[in-house]
Symmetry: C2
Subunit: 292 residues, 2 copies
C-alpha cells in the first residue's frame, strides 16, 4: 500500500508509523510517498508537491494507494490531475472526506471506481483502532465483502440496484455544475458529513435536489452526520427535521444508519461500482459483490 | 415599504419597530406583512406562511418590499415562488445574505433586477444605525446614486461594463447547477461572506471556477469576508492566500474593498442591472446610473 497526502498536512508523523504497523499486521506492505509529510500552509505540501505525489502513486508497485487523511486541498488540484492516467494505472485508490472529490472526479472523467473508507491518520493511526473498521477494510480490499448489513430501523422500503456513489456531502455538493460531478442515473447515493449545521446539510441537499440529481437516484443512503452544534434560535430544527423535509420533498427512498462518516466504525465502500440495496425488518443490506 | 420575512425568524420584534421609525425618518412609509413575525423552528413561519407573505407582497400598494433579515430558509422555497408574478409586480425587492437566492432566482427566471442592501433587523433596527448605509439606501431607492466610489488599494486595473450580480458567496455557490443560477456572461460578480473559513471561501470560489462561471465575468468584486476563525493548523493560510490563489488562477480582474457584506457600512447594490466598474489611483468606482 502506497500512502500519499493530497489534502491536509499530517500533523503528527507518528500516526503514520502506527498506521503502517497496523496495516502490516493486516497483511499490507506499505510505502510512504516522499512528500506525504510535507507541509505548506494547511496543506500537505504545495499544489505542485501534492500533484507530483499523486503522479508517483500511479507508477510505483503497490496495488493500493491510500490517502493519509482528508482535510482540504484536492478541489483546486482537480484540473491538473491526469484522470485517464489514474484510471489506466489500475491502482485501487482509497480515502475519505476531502478525497470524495478525487473519487467522484475519477468516476466522472473516466468511469473508473475507487473506495471511500478509512485513512492512515484517523483510523489506522488512531490511538485505538476500531477492529470492525479494520476487518471491513481488509475484506473489501481482498474482494471478500459480499454484503454489508446494518441496523436501519426507520428506512423506507427499497430493493434496488445501481451505481454506488457519493461520500462527504459538502464535497459532493461542491462539484455540482462542474466537469468533476459524475452524471449518475439510477444510482445509490451515500452521504455523510461532519461539523455541518443541519441548515447547511439541508442547503446542500437542496442544491442536489434543485440540480435534479436526487430525483434520478434509486436510493439516498445516509451515513453519520456528526459534531454539529445547534443554537437556541434553532428552536427544534435539527437533523431529523432535515431528513423529514427530505423525505417529504424527494420521492426517493431514504435509507438511514450506514456505518460511514467521520466516526470510528466505518465501512469501506466502492465508489462507482454497481451494488444492490435492500431494506426490511429494521435492517438494510448493501450488496457489494453480487454477480449482476 | 412592505416588510416580509422569507428566511429566518425575527428574534426581537422591537427591532422592527425601530426600523420602521428610522425608515419613516428617511421618508419611507412602512407596513409589516401579517406573518413577518411568525416563528416556526428557526424560520419566520412555515414554508406555507413564508410563501404566502411573498405572494401578498406582490399585491399590496407599497412599491418597495424589504426582507426583515436573512438567516436561512429561502432555498427550499424557490420552486414554489411564481417568479413571473414577482417580476410582473414591478415591486422593488431588497434584502441580504439568504435573500441572495431570491435576487438570483428572479434574475435567472425572468431577467428582472432587485437590490442587495440593508435589512430591517440588522441595519435599520440596529442599536446604532450607520448613517452612510442609510444615505446610500435612500439615494439608491430614489435612483439618485450614480457612482459608488470606494478605497481599493490593491485592485487589478479594470474598466468594464456588465451586469452586476452576486451577493453572499455561500448562497451564490448553492445555486450552481440549478435553474435558479443566472447565466451571466461578461458580468460583474460581487461576493461577500460571513463566518466562512477561508478554505470554505476558496472551495466555493473553486466551484464557481470549475463551473466556468468566473472566467466568463469581466470583474470579480470582493466585499467583506468577516467573522471567521483560523486554527493553528492553518499555518499562515488565510483570506489573503485565497485571494492570491484566485488572482493566479482566474484571469479576471479582482476588485477589492467593496463596502458590502455582514458589516455596518454597506452599499445598496442593484442585482441584475448593467453597471460600470473602473479602478485607478487606489480607488474603485461602480457606475450605477450611467446611460449606456
Amino acid at each position: 500500500m502506497y500512502l500519499i497526502s493530497p489534502s491536509g498536512a499530517v500533523a503528527d508523523p507518528a500516526t503514520i508509523d502506527l498506521a503502517r504497523a497496523r496495516l502490516g499486521e493486516l497483511g499490507f506492505k506499505t510505502a510512504v510517498d516522499r512528500t506525504a509529510l510535507a507541509v505548506h500552509e494547511r496543506f500537505a505540501g504545495t499544489d505542485k508537491q501534492r500533484l507530483a505525489g499523486i503522479a508517483r502513486a500511479l507508477k510505483q508497485k503497490h496495488p493500493i494507494v491510500m490517502a493519509t487523511r482528508g482535510g482540504y486541498g484536492l478541489s483546486r488540484l482537480l484540473p491538473f490531475i491526469d484522470w485517464q492516467a489514474v484510471a489506466d494505472s489500475g491502482k485501487i485508490f482509497i480515502g475519505q472526506s476531502d478525497f470524495t472529490v478525487f473519487s467522484l472526479a475519477l468516476l466522472a472523467q473516466t468511469g473508473a471506481s475507487s473506495f471511500a473508507g478509512p485513512t492512515a491518520v484517523y483510523d489506522f493511526g488512531a490511538k485505538k483502532m476500531d477492529d470492525l473498521t479494520a476487518d471491513l477494510f481488509g475484506e473489501s480490499m481482498r474482494g471478500e465483502l459480499e454484503i454489508l448489513s446494518f441496523e436501519s430501523p426507520d428506512s423506507d422500503p427499497v430493493d434496488a440496484r445501481g451505481v454506488l456513489w457519493g461520500g462527504n456531502l459538502a464535497m459532493v455538493a461542491s462539484l455540482i455544475g462542474t466537469p468533476y460531478m459524475p452524471n449518475v442515473d439510477g444510482g445509490i447515493l451515500f452521504l455523510e458529513d461532519v461539523a455541518e449545521h443541519p441548515f447547511r446539510v439541508e442547503r446542500m441537499l437542496t442544491q442536489l435536489w434543485h440540480a435534479g440529481i436526487l430525483a434520478r437516484q434509486k436510493a439516498i443512503v445516509l451515513g453519520r452526520f456528526t459534531d454539529y452544534r445547534l443554537g437556541a434560535h434553532d428552536n427544534g430544527f435539527d437533523l431529523p427535521s432535515v431528513i423529514a423535509w427530505l423525505r417529504s420533498t424527494v420521492k426517493v427512498p431514504v435509507v438511514t444508519g450506514l456505518p460511514y462518516g467521520h466516526v470510528k466504525v466505518k465501512a469501506t465502500l466502492p465508489v462507482g461500482r454497481k451494488v444492490g440495496i435492500a431494506t426490511g425488518e429494521g435492517m438494510a443490506h448493501l450488496v457489494l459483490e453480487e454477480h449482476f
